[in-house]
Protein backbone atom coordinates (compact mmCIF):
# COMPACT_ATOMS: atom_id res chain seq x y z
CA UNK A 1 0.00 0.00 0.00
CA UNK A 2 2.40 2.66 -1.16
CA UNK A 3 1.83 6.43 -0.72
CA UNK A 4 -0.28 7.88 -3.52
CA UNK A 5 -1.39 4.44 -4.69
CA UNK A 6 -5.18 4.09 -4.87
CA UNK A 7 -6.60 1.63 -2.38
CA UNK A 8 -8.38 -1.44 -3.56
CA UNK A 9 -11.97 -1.94 -2.39
CA UNK A 10 -10.85 -4.59 0.03
CA UNK A 11 -8.19 -2.37 1.55
CA UNK A 12 -10.64 0.50 1.97
CA UNK A 13 -13.07 -1.90 3.55
CA UNK A 14 -10.52 -3.04 6.10
CA UNK A 15 -9.81 0.58 7.04
CA UNK A 16 -13.49 1.51 7.25
CA UNK A 17 -14.64 -1.57 9.12
CA UNK A 18 -11.78 -3.40 10.76
CA UNK A 19 -12.79 -6.97 11.45
CA UNK A 20 -13.07 -7.98 15.07
CA UNK A 21 -10.62 -10.64 16.11
CA UNK A 22 -12.31 -13.93 15.35
CA UNK A 23 -11.84 -16.79 17.76
CA UNK A 24 -9.88 -19.60 16.21
CA UNK A 25 -12.03 -22.70 16.17
CA UNK A 26 -10.69 -25.14 18.71
CA UNK A 27 -8.73 -27.98 17.25
CA UNK A 28 -10.79 -30.40 19.28
CA UNK A 29 -14.10 -28.70 18.57
CA UNK A 30 -16.66 -31.13 17.24
CA UNK A 31 -17.79 -30.13 13.76
CA UNK A 32 -21.38 -28.88 13.73
CA UNK A 33 -21.84 -29.32 10.00
CA UNK A 34 -20.89 -32.70 8.64
CA UNK A 35 -21.18 -33.52 4.95
CA UNK A 36 -20.14 -37.02 3.92
CA UNK A 37 -20.12 -38.81 0.59
CA UNK A 38 -22.38 -36.22 -1.06
CA UNK A 39 -23.29 -37.00 -4.64
CA UNK A 40 -25.45 -35.14 -7.14
CA UNK A 41 -25.63 -36.04 -10.79
CA UNK A 42 -27.80 -33.63 -12.79
CA UNK A 43 -29.68 -35.12 -15.68
CA UNK A 44 -28.01 -34.38 -19.00
CA UNK A 45 -24.56 -33.85 -17.47
CA UNK A 46 -21.85 -36.38 -18.43
CA UNK A 47 -20.41 -36.61 -14.90
CA UNK A 48 -21.69 -36.06 -11.38
CA UNK A 49 -21.53 -32.41 -10.27
CA UNK A 50 -20.75 -33.46 -6.72
CA UNK A 51 -19.03 -36.80 -6.25
CA UNK A 52 -18.34 -38.27 -2.80
CA UNK A 53 -17.86 -34.75 -1.43
CA UNK A 54 -16.89 -34.39 2.23
CA UNK A 55 -16.91 -31.21 4.32
CA UNK A 56 -16.86 -30.35 7.99
CA UNK A 57 -17.41 -26.97 9.63
CA UNK A 58 -16.76 -26.28 13.30
CA UNK A 59 -18.35 -23.55 15.43
CA UNK A 60 -16.91 -20.14 14.58
CA UNK A 61 -15.57 -21.17 11.18
CA UNK A 62 -15.86 -19.13 8.01
CA UNK A 63 -15.00 -21.16 4.92
CA UNK A 64 -14.76 -19.89 1.36
CA UNK A 65 -15.30 -22.25 -1.55
CA UNK A 66 -14.18 -21.22 -5.00
CA UNK A 67 -14.24 -23.03 -8.30
CA UNK A 68 -14.74 -22.59 -12.01
CA UNK A 69 -18.22 -21.84 -13.34
CA UNK A 70 -20.41 -24.93 -13.33
CA UNK A 71 -18.36 -26.94 -10.85
CA UNK A 72 -21.26 -27.27 -8.41
CA UNK A 73 -20.72 -24.51 -5.83
CA UNK A 74 -24.33 -23.35 -5.93
CA UNK A 75 -25.57 -26.95 -5.97
CA UNK A 76 -23.55 -27.62 -2.81
CA UNK A 77 -25.08 -24.64 -1.00
CA UNK A 78 -28.58 -25.51 -2.15
CA UNK A 79 -28.23 -29.08 -0.93
CA UNK A 80 -26.98 -28.00 2.50
CA UNK A 81 -29.69 -25.32 2.55
CA UNK A 82 -32.42 -27.91 1.92
CA UNK A 83 -33.51 -26.65 -1.49
CA UNK A 84 -32.11 -29.52 -3.52
CA UNK A 85 -32.08 -33.20 -2.54
CA UNK A 86 -28.80 -35.09 -3.05
CA UNK A 87 -28.69 -38.43 -4.83
CA UNK A 88 -26.91 -39.83 -1.79
CA UNK A 89 -24.72 -38.81 1.10
CA UNK A 90 -25.14 -37.38 4.57
CA UNK A 91 -25.67 -33.75 5.54
CA UNK A 92 -25.93 -33.26 9.28
CA UNK A 93 -26.21 -29.98 11.14
CA UNK A 94 -25.87 -30.00 14.89
CA UNK A 95 -26.88 -33.66 14.94
CA UNK A 96 -29.92 -33.21 12.70
CA UNK A 97 -29.73 -34.99 9.36
CA UNK A 98 -31.06 -33.21 6.28
CA UNK A 99 -34.46 -34.64 5.45
CA UNK A 100 -35.33 -35.40 9.07
CA UNK A 101 -36.87 -32.90 11.52
CA UNK A 102 -37.17 -30.40 8.70
CA UNK A 103 -38.33 -27.49 10.83
CA UNK A 104 -35.51 -27.83 13.39
CA UNK A 105 -32.95 -28.14 10.59
CA UNK A 106 -34.23 -25.14 8.63
CA UNK A 107 -34.34 -22.94 11.74
CA UNK A 108 -30.54 -23.14 11.77
CA UNK A 109 -30.04 -22.23 8.11
CA UNK A 110 -29.74 -18.83 6.45
CA UNK A 111 -29.34 -19.13 2.67
CA UNK A 112 -28.47 -16.37 0.23
CA UNK A 113 -29.18 -17.56 -3.31
CA UNK A 114 -27.26 -15.99 -6.20
CA UNK A 115 -28.58 -13.07 -8.23
CA UNK A 116 -31.21 -10.54 -7.20
CA UNK A 117 -34.30 -12.77 -7.03
CA UNK A 118 -36.51 -13.61 -4.10
CA UNK A 119 -38.07 -10.24 -3.29
CA UNK A 120 -41.57 -8.92 -3.98
CA UNK A 121 -41.35 -5.83 -6.19
CA UNK A 122 -44.48 -4.15 -4.78
CA UNK A 123 -43.82 -4.85 -1.11
CA UNK A 124 -41.84 -2.59 1.24
CA UNK A 125 -38.59 -3.57 2.92
CA UNK A 126 -40.27 -3.42 6.34
CA UNK A 127 -43.03 -5.78 5.20
CA UNK A 128 -40.41 -8.20 3.80
CA UNK A 129 -38.60 -8.30 7.13
CA UNK A 130 -41.85 -8.89 8.99
CA UNK A 131 -42.95 -11.64 6.60
CA UNK A 132 -39.68 -13.56 6.72
CA UNK A 133 -39.48 -13.23 10.51
CA UNK A 134 -42.93 -14.81 10.62
CA UNK A 135 -41.91 -17.58 8.20
CA UNK A 136 -38.98 -18.26 10.51
CA UNK A 137 -41.65 -18.92 13.18
CA UNK A 138 -40.28 -16.32 15.57
CA UNK A 139 -42.70 -15.22 18.27
CA UNK A 140 -43.85 -11.59 18.48
CA UNK A 141 -41.08 -10.39 20.79
CA UNK A 142 -38.34 -12.25 18.95
CA UNK A 143 -39.64 -10.85 15.65
CA UNK A 144 -39.39 -7.27 16.86
CA UNK A 145 -35.89 -7.85 18.23
CA UNK A 146 -34.73 -9.63 15.07
CA UNK A 147 -36.07 -6.92 12.78
CA UNK A 148 -34.55 -4.16 14.87
CA UNK A 149 -31.21 -5.99 14.87
CA UNK A 150 -30.97 -6.36 11.08
CA UNK A 151 -32.21 -2.80 10.60
CA UNK A 152 -29.16 -1.59 12.46
CA UNK A 153 -26.77 -4.17 11.07
CA UNK A 154 -27.59 -3.55 7.41
CA UNK A 155 -28.50 0.15 7.73
CA UNK A 156 -32.05 -0.31 6.47
CA UNK A 157 -33.74 2.56 8.35
CA UNK A 158 -33.74 4.91 5.36
CA UNK A 159 -35.18 2.38 2.96
CA UNK A 160 -37.55 0.49 5.29
CA UNK A 161 -40.67 2.16 3.90
CA UNK A 162 -39.64 1.90 0.25
CA UNK A 163 -40.96 -0.77 -2.05
CA UNK A 164 -38.42 -3.13 -3.57
CA UNK A 165 -39.09 -1.75 -7.06
CA UNK A 166 -37.83 1.61 -5.78
CA UNK A 167 -34.48 0.20 -4.61
CA UNK A 168 -31.14 0.00 -6.38
CA UNK A 169 -29.56 -3.40 -6.98
CA UNK A 170 -27.13 -2.86 -4.11
CA UNK A 171 -29.95 -1.92 -1.73
CA UNK A 172 -31.86 -5.04 -2.78
CA UNK A 173 -28.82 -7.16 -2.03
CA UNK A 174 -28.63 -5.57 1.43
CA UNK A 175 -32.27 -6.52 2.01
CA UNK A 176 -31.63 -10.07 0.79
CA UNK A 177 -28.67 -10.36 3.15
CA UNK A 178 -30.73 -8.95 6.03
CA UNK A 179 -33.33 -11.67 5.43
CA UNK A 180 -30.59 -14.31 5.63
CA UNK A 181 -29.37 -13.13 9.05
CA UNK A 182 -32.81 -12.16 10.38
CA UNK A 183 -33.59 -15.27 12.44
CA UNK A 184 -30.04 -15.64 13.83
CA UNK A 185 -29.26 -18.89 11.99
CA UNK A 186 -26.44 -21.14 13.12
CA UNK A 187 -25.15 -21.73 9.59
CA UNK A 188 -25.14 -19.01 6.95
CA UNK A 189 -24.71 -20.05 3.33
CA UNK A 190 -23.77 -17.18 1.04
CA UNK A 191 -23.69 -17.50 -2.73
CA UNK A 192 -21.70 -14.59 -4.16
CA UNK A 193 -22.72 -12.16 -1.40
CA UNK A 194 -20.70 -9.23 -2.76
CA UNK A 195 -22.90 -8.90 -5.86
CA UNK A 196 -23.81 -5.21 -6.40
CA UNK A 197 -22.58 -4.18 -2.94
CA UNK A 198 -20.51 -1.05 -2.38
CA UNK A 199 -17.60 -1.03 0.01
CA UNK A 200 -19.68 0.15 2.96
CA UNK A 201 -22.32 -2.52 2.44
CA UNK A 202 -19.58 -5.14 2.18
CA UNK A 203 -18.51 -3.95 5.62
CA UNK A 204 -21.99 -4.73 6.94
CA UNK A 205 -21.72 -8.29 5.65
CA UNK A 206 -18.27 -8.74 7.16
CA UNK A 207 -19.46 -7.54 10.53
CA UNK A 208 -22.55 -9.74 10.41
CA UNK A 209 -20.39 -12.77 9.60
CA UNK A 210 -17.91 -11.83 12.34
CA UNK A 211 -20.72 -11.61 14.88
CA UNK A 212 -22.08 -14.94 13.67
CA UNK A 213 -18.68 -16.59 14.10
CA UNK A 214 -18.21 -14.99 17.53
CA UNK A 215 -21.39 -16.57 18.80
CA UNK A 216 -20.33 -19.97 17.49
CA UNK A 217 -22.10 -19.88 14.14
CA UNK A 218 -20.60 -20.90 10.83
CA UNK A 219 -20.47 -19.40 7.37
CA UNK A 220 -19.91 -21.09 4.04
CA UNK A 221 -19.39 -18.61 1.22
CA UNK A 222 -19.01 -19.51 -2.45
CA UNK A 223 -17.57 -17.32 -5.19
CA UNK A 224 -16.26 -18.02 -8.69
CA UNK A 225 -12.56 -18.71 -9.04
CA UNK A 226 -10.57 -15.49 -8.91
CA UNK A 227 -13.36 -13.41 -7.36
CA UNK A 228 -13.07 -11.75 -3.96
CA UNK A 229 -15.50 -13.30 -1.49
CA UNK A 230 -15.62 -9.99 0.37
CA UNK A 231 -15.11 -11.82 3.66
CA UNK A 232 -12.16 -13.00 5.66
CA UNK A 233 -12.36 -16.76 5.53
CA UNK A 234 -10.40 -18.92 7.92
CA UNK A 235 -10.22 -21.68 5.33
CA UNK A 236 -10.31 -21.58 1.54
CA UNK A 237 -11.32 -24.60 -0.51
CA UNK A 238 -11.62 -25.27 -4.21
CA UNK A 239 -14.40 -27.36 -5.71
CA UNK A 240 -12.97 -29.43 -8.53
CA UNK A 241 -14.25 -32.63 -10.17
CA UNK A 242 -17.04 -32.86 -7.64
CA UNK A 243 -14.83 -32.72 -4.55
CA UNK A 244 -13.37 -30.10 -2.26
CA UNK A 245 -9.62 -29.53 -2.05
CA UNK A 246 -7.51 -27.07 -0.12
CA UNK A 247 -6.89 -23.89 -2.12
Amino acid sequence: MGAGMPLTDDERLRVAHPADPRPTPGQDAEPLLVVEGLRKHWRGRPAPTLDELDLELSPGEVVAVTGRNGTGKTTLLRIIGGLVAPDRGLVQLDGIALGTRRRAYQRQIGLLTPGDRGLYARVTVARHLDLWARLALLDTQARAAAISSVHARFDLADIADLRVDQLSMGQRQRVRLALVFLHAPRLVLLDEPATSLDVVALGFVRRAVDELARRGGMCLVVVPEGADPGLEAGRALVLRDGRLERA
Binding site: G82, L83, V84, R107, T113, R127
Partner: protein, 268 residues
Protein backbone atom coordinates in the same frame (compact mmCIF):
# COMPACT_ATOMS: atom_id res chain seq x y z
CA UNK B 1 -52.76 -22.95 21.13
CA UNK B 2 -49.47 -21.18 21.90
CA UNK B 3 -47.58 -23.82 19.90
CA UNK B 4 -49.70 -22.91 16.88
CA UNK B 5 -49.31 -19.17 17.32
CA UNK B 6 -46.09 -18.81 15.23
CA UNK B 7 -47.67 -20.87 12.44
CA UNK B 8 -50.80 -18.72 12.49
CA UNK B 9 -48.63 -15.60 12.50
CA UNK B 10 -46.75 -16.93 9.46
CA UNK B 11 -50.00 -17.65 7.63
CA UNK B 12 -51.26 -14.18 8.56
CA UNK B 13 -48.02 -12.72 7.20
CA UNK B 14 -48.64 -14.33 3.81
CA UNK B 15 -52.23 -13.03 3.89
CA UNK B 16 -50.98 -9.49 4.63
CA UNK B 17 -48.43 -9.74 1.84
CA UNK B 18 -51.11 -10.80 -0.65
CA UNK B 19 -53.40 -8.00 0.51
CA UNK B 20 -50.55 -5.47 0.15
CA UNK B 21 -49.78 -6.63 -3.39
CA UNK B 22 -53.49 -6.63 -4.31
CA UNK B 23 -54.04 -3.10 -3.00
CA UNK B 24 -50.89 -1.85 -4.72
CA UNK B 25 -52.76 -2.20 -8.02
CA UNK B 26 -55.17 0.67 -7.43
CA UNK B 27 -57.67 -0.11 -10.17
CA UNK B 28 -57.83 -3.84 -9.57
CA UNK B 29 -60.58 -3.81 -6.95
CA UNK B 30 -62.85 -1.58 -9.03
CA UNK B 31 -62.33 -3.40 -12.33
CA UNK B 32 -63.00 -6.74 -10.64
CA UNK B 33 -66.47 -5.59 -9.60
CA UNK B 34 -67.20 -3.88 -12.93
CA UNK B 35 -66.73 -7.32 -14.52
CA UNK B 36 -69.22 -8.81 -12.06
CA UNK B 37 -71.69 -6.02 -12.82
CA UNK B 38 -71.50 -6.76 -16.56
CA UNK B 39 -72.08 -10.49 -15.97
CA UNK B 40 -75.11 -9.73 -13.81
CA UNK B 41 -76.47 -7.33 -16.44
CA UNK B 42 -76.21 -10.03 -19.14
CA UNK B 43 -78.23 -12.51 -17.08
CA UNK B 44 -80.68 -9.82 -16.01
CA UNK B 45 -81.60 -9.08 -19.63
CA UNK B 46 -81.61 -12.76 -20.62
CA UNK B 47 -84.09 -13.37 -17.79
CA UNK B 48 -86.31 -10.62 -19.22
CA UNK B 49 -86.04 -11.98 -22.75
CA UNK B 50 -86.64 -15.70 -22.34
CA UNK B 51 -89.45 -17.43 -20.48
CA UNK B 52 -88.93 -21.07 -19.49
CA UNK B 53 -91.05 -23.57 -17.61
CA UNK B 54 -88.50 -24.24 -14.94
CA UNK B 55 -88.76 -20.69 -13.59
CA UNK B 56 -92.07 -19.05 -12.73
CA UNK B 57 -90.86 -15.48 -13.16
CA UNK B 58 -87.96 -13.64 -14.82
CA UNK B 59 -86.73 -12.66 -11.34
CA UNK B 60 -86.65 -16.33 -10.31
CA UNK B 61 -84.24 -17.12 -13.16
CA UNK B 62 -82.17 -13.98 -12.54
CA UNK B 63 -81.73 -14.84 -8.85
CA UNK B 64 -80.81 -18.41 -9.91
CA UNK B 65 -78.16 -17.19 -12.38
CA UNK B 66 -76.88 -14.46 -10.03
CA UNK B 67 -75.80 -17.11 -7.52
CA UNK B 68 -74.11 -18.93 -10.40
CA UNK B 69 -72.16 -15.73 -11.13
CA UNK B 70 -71.14 -15.56 -7.46
CA UNK B 71 -69.92 -19.17 -7.43
CA UNK B 72 -68.04 -18.66 -10.68
CA UNK B 73 -66.18 -15.75 -9.04
CA UNK B 74 -65.20 -18.03 -6.12
CA UNK B 75 -64.11 -20.74 -8.54
CA UNK B 76 -62.09 -18.33 -10.64
CA UNK B 77 -60.30 -16.81 -7.65
CA UNK B 78 -59.41 -20.25 -6.28
CA UNK B 79 -58.11 -21.52 -9.59
CA UNK B 80 -55.91 -18.41 -9.86
CA UNK B 81 -53.80 -19.80 -6.99
CA UNK B 82 -51.75 -22.14 -9.22
CA UNK B 83 -50.91 -19.07 -11.33
CA UNK B 84 -49.80 -17.23 -8.18
CA UNK B 85 -47.57 -20.16 -7.19
CA UNK B 86 -46.04 -20.16 -10.65
CA UNK B 87 -45.21 -16.47 -10.21
CA UNK B 88 -43.56 -17.26 -6.85
CA UNK B 89 -41.47 -19.96 -8.53
CA UNK B 90 -40.43 -17.71 -11.40
CA UNK B 91 -39.61 -14.79 -9.08
CA UNK B 92 -37.53 -16.99 -6.77
CA UNK B 93 -39.63 -16.07 -3.73
CA UNK B 94 -40.78 -19.67 -3.38
CA UNK B 95 -37.17 -20.67 -2.62
CA UNK B 96 -37.31 -18.56 0.50
CA UNK B 97 -40.56 -20.21 1.57
CA UNK B 98 -39.06 -23.63 0.85
CA UNK B 99 -36.04 -23.05 3.12
CA UNK B 100 -38.06 -21.38 5.86
CA UNK B 101 -39.04 -23.29 9.01
CA UNK B 102 -42.68 -22.67 8.05
CA UNK B 103 -42.03 -24.74 4.94
CA UNK B 104 -43.29 -24.96 1.37
CA UNK B 105 -46.53 -26.91 1.94
CA UNK B 106 -47.75 -24.67 4.79
CA UNK B 107 -46.76 -21.60 2.75
CA UNK B 108 -48.78 -22.77 -0.26
CA UNK B 109 -51.77 -23.59 1.95
CA UNK B 110 -51.52 -20.07 3.38
CA UNK B 111 -51.64 -18.68 -0.15
CA UNK B 112 -55.31 -19.76 -0.15
CA UNK B 113 -56.31 -17.42 2.68
CA UNK B 114 -56.42 -14.18 0.76
CA UNK B 115 -58.27 -15.61 -2.28
CA UNK B 116 -60.87 -17.23 -0.01
CA UNK B 117 -61.40 -13.97 1.92
CA UNK B 118 -61.51 -12.09 -1.38
CA UNK B 119 -64.07 -14.58 -2.76
CA UNK B 120 -66.33 -14.09 0.27
CA UNK B 121 -66.07 -10.31 -0.11
CA UNK B 122 -66.89 -10.68 -3.80
CA UNK B 123 -69.90 -12.76 -2.87
CA UNK B 124 -71.20 -9.99 -0.60
CA UNK B 125 -70.52 -7.24 -3.13
CA UNK B 126 -72.22 -9.24 -5.90
CA UNK B 127 -75.24 -9.79 -3.69
CA UNK B 128 -75.38 -6.09 -2.91
CA UNK B 129 -75.18 -5.25 -6.62
CA UNK B 130 -78.09 -7.61 -7.39
CA UNK B 131 -80.15 -5.79 -4.77
CA UNK B 132 -79.13 -2.19 -5.48
CA UNK B 133 -78.81 -2.26 -9.27
CA UNK B 134 -81.19 -5.07 -10.29
CA UNK B 135 -83.81 -4.92 -7.56
CA UNK B 136 -83.38 -8.46 -6.25
CA UNK B 137 -84.33 -9.09 -2.64
CA UNK B 138 -81.67 -11.39 -1.15
CA UNK B 139 -82.27 -13.19 2.13
CA UNK B 140 -79.92 -10.93 4.11
CA UNK B 141 -80.73 -12.67 7.38
CA UNK B 142 -79.31 -15.93 6.00
CA UNK B 143 -76.14 -14.42 4.56
CA UNK B 144 -74.11 -15.20 7.74
CA UNK B 145 -75.02 -18.87 7.21
CA UNK B 146 -73.89 -18.68 3.59
CA UNK B 147 -70.36 -17.58 4.59
CA UNK B 148 -69.32 -20.92 6.19
CA UNK B 149 -70.96 -22.79 3.30
CA UNK B 150 -68.97 -20.69 0.84
CA UNK B 151 -65.80 -21.28 2.89
CA UNK B 152 -66.28 -25.09 2.90
CA UNK B 153 -67.06 -24.93 -0.83
CA UNK B 154 -63.86 -22.94 -1.34
CA UNK B 155 -61.95 -25.61 0.62
CA UNK B 156 -63.22 -28.30 -1.72
CA UNK B 157 -62.26 -26.11 -4.66
CA UNK B 158 -58.95 -25.44 -2.94
CA UNK B 159 -58.21 -29.15 -2.84
CA UNK B 160 -58.59 -29.32 -6.61
CA UNK B 161 -56.50 -26.17 -6.94
CA UNK B 162 -53.81 -27.88 -4.80
CA UNK B 163 -53.57 -30.65 -7.38
CA UNK B 164 -53.07 -28.01 -10.07
CA UNK B 165 -50.41 -26.37 -7.88
CA UNK B 166 -48.71 -29.78 -7.59
CA UNK B 167 -48.72 -30.02 -11.38
CA UNK B 168 -47.26 -26.50 -11.66
CA UNK B 169 -44.49 -27.38 -9.19
CA UNK B 170 -43.70 -30.71 -10.81
CA UNK B 171 -44.37 -30.16 -14.53
CA UNK B 172 -44.24 -26.33 -14.70
CA UNK B 173 -47.69 -26.22 -16.25
CA UNK B 174 -51.26 -27.20 -15.42
CA UNK B 175 -52.99 -27.29 -18.77
CA UNK B 176 -56.39 -28.49 -17.48
CA UNK B 177 -57.28 -25.55 -15.19
CA UNK B 178 -59.32 -23.61 -17.75
CA UNK B 179 -61.19 -26.77 -18.82
CA UNK B 180 -62.04 -27.62 -15.22
CA UNK B 181 -63.57 -24.16 -14.79
CA UNK B 182 -65.67 -24.59 -17.93
CA UNK B 183 -66.68 -28.18 -17.12
CA UNK B 184 -67.72 -27.37 -13.56
CA UNK B 185 -69.78 -24.38 -14.63
CA UNK B 186 -71.57 -26.73 -17.04
CA UNK B 187 -72.27 -29.72 -14.78
CA UNK B 188 -72.78 -27.95 -11.43
CA UNK B 189 -75.79 -25.97 -12.59
CA UNK B 190 -74.35 -22.47 -12.43
CA UNK B 191 -76.69 -21.00 -15.05
CA UNK B 192 -79.32 -23.69 -15.65
CA UNK B 193 -80.78 -26.60 -13.65
CA UNK B 194 -78.72 -29.80 -13.84
CA UNK B 195 -81.95 -31.69 -14.62
CA UNK B 196 -81.65 -30.30 -18.16
CA UNK B 197 -78.37 -32.16 -18.71
CA UNK B 198 -78.54 -35.30 -20.92
CA UNK B 199 -78.56 -38.62 -18.99
CA UNK B 200 -75.01 -39.47 -20.03
CA UNK B 201 -73.72 -36.24 -18.44
CA UNK B 202 -76.05 -35.80 -15.49
CA UNK B 203 -74.03 -38.20 -13.28
CA UNK B 204 -71.21 -35.64 -13.38
CA UNK B 205 -73.31 -33.21 -11.36
CA UNK B 206 -73.32 -35.67 -8.44
CA UNK B 207 -69.62 -36.55 -8.30
CA UNK B 208 -68.18 -33.16 -7.49
CA UNK B 209 -68.66 -30.76 -4.55
CA UNK B 210 -69.97 -27.77 -6.47
CA UNK B 211 -73.52 -28.92 -7.13
CA UNK B 212 -74.37 -29.15 -3.39
CA UNK B 213 -72.47 -25.89 -2.74
CA UNK B 214 -74.44 -24.05 -5.42
CA UNK B 215 -77.70 -25.60 -4.23
CA UNK B 216 -77.10 -24.56 -0.60
CA UNK B 217 -75.94 -21.06 -1.50
CA UNK B 218 -78.98 -20.50 -3.73
CA UNK B 219 -81.23 -21.53 -0.88
CA UNK B 220 -79.44 -19.36 1.65
CA UNK B 221 -78.82 -16.27 -0.46
CA UNK B 222 -81.98 -15.93 -2.57
CA UNK B 223 -84.37 -18.41 -0.94
CA UNK B 224 -84.69 -20.85 -3.87
CA UNK B 225 -85.86 -24.36 -2.87
CA UNK B 226 -83.22 -27.06 -2.32
CA UNK B 227 -82.91 -29.96 -4.79
CA UNK B 228 -82.12 -32.38 -1.95
CA UNK B 229 -82.16 -32.18 1.85
CA UNK B 230 -80.00 -29.45 3.40
CA UNK B 231 -78.17 -31.94 5.62
CA UNK B 232 -77.57 -34.19 2.62
CA UNK B 233 -75.98 -31.28 0.74
CA UNK B 234 -73.89 -30.30 3.79
CA UNK B 235 -72.73 -33.91 4.25
CA UNK B 236 -71.73 -34.18 0.59
CA UNK B 237 -69.89 -30.87 0.68
CA UNK B 238 -67.99 -31.68 3.88
CA UNK B 239 -67.33 -35.24 2.66
CA UNK B 240 -65.85 -34.06 -0.62
CA UNK B 241 -63.63 -31.54 1.22
CA UNK B 242 -62.52 -34.14 3.79
CA UNK B 243 -61.47 -36.56 1.06
CA UNK B 244 -60.06 -34.12 -1.49
CA UNK B 245 -57.97 -31.95 0.86
CA UNK B 246 -55.62 -34.73 2.12
CA UNK B 247 -55.28 -35.96 -1.46
CA UNK B 248 -54.37 -32.42 -2.57
CA UNK B 249 -51.84 -31.95 0.25
CA UNK B 250 -50.27 -35.38 -0.40
CA UNK B 251 -50.02 -34.61 -4.12
CA UNK B 252 -48.37 -31.29 -3.38
CA UNK B 253 -45.88 -32.83 -0.92
CA UNK B 254 -44.92 -35.45 -3.50
CA UNK B 255 -44.48 -32.80 -6.19
CA UNK B 256 -42.23 -30.69 -3.92
CA UNK B 257 -40.09 -33.71 -2.98
CA UNK B 258 -39.69 -34.67 -6.62
CA UNK B 259 -38.83 -31.10 -7.61
CA UNK B 260 -36.19 -30.99 -4.87
CA UNK B 261 -34.56 -33.99 -6.54
CA UNK B 262 -34.81 -32.54 -10.03
CA UNK B 263 -33.70 -29.08 -8.90
CA UNK B 264 -36.78 -27.42 -10.40
CA UNK B 265 -37.75 -25.74 -7.14
CA UNK B 266 -34.89 -23.36 -7.83
CA UNK B 267 -34.41 -23.40 -11.58
CA UNK B 268 -37.99 -23.00 -12.67
Amino acid sequence: MSAWRPQLAAAAGIFQRDLTVFLSYRWRLGTQYVGVLFSLAVFYYISRLVRVEAFATPTAYFSYAAVGVIILQVLQVTLDIPVAVRQELVAGTFERMAVSPFGPVASILSLFLFPIASAILTMLVTLTLTAVVFGLDPSWSRVPLAIPVAAVGALALGAIALLFVAMIVRFKQAPGAAYVLAAISLVAGFYFPVELLPWWLSWASDVQPFTPAVDLLRHLLVGLPLRASAWGDVARLVGFSAVLLPVGVAGLSLAIDRSRRLGTLTEY
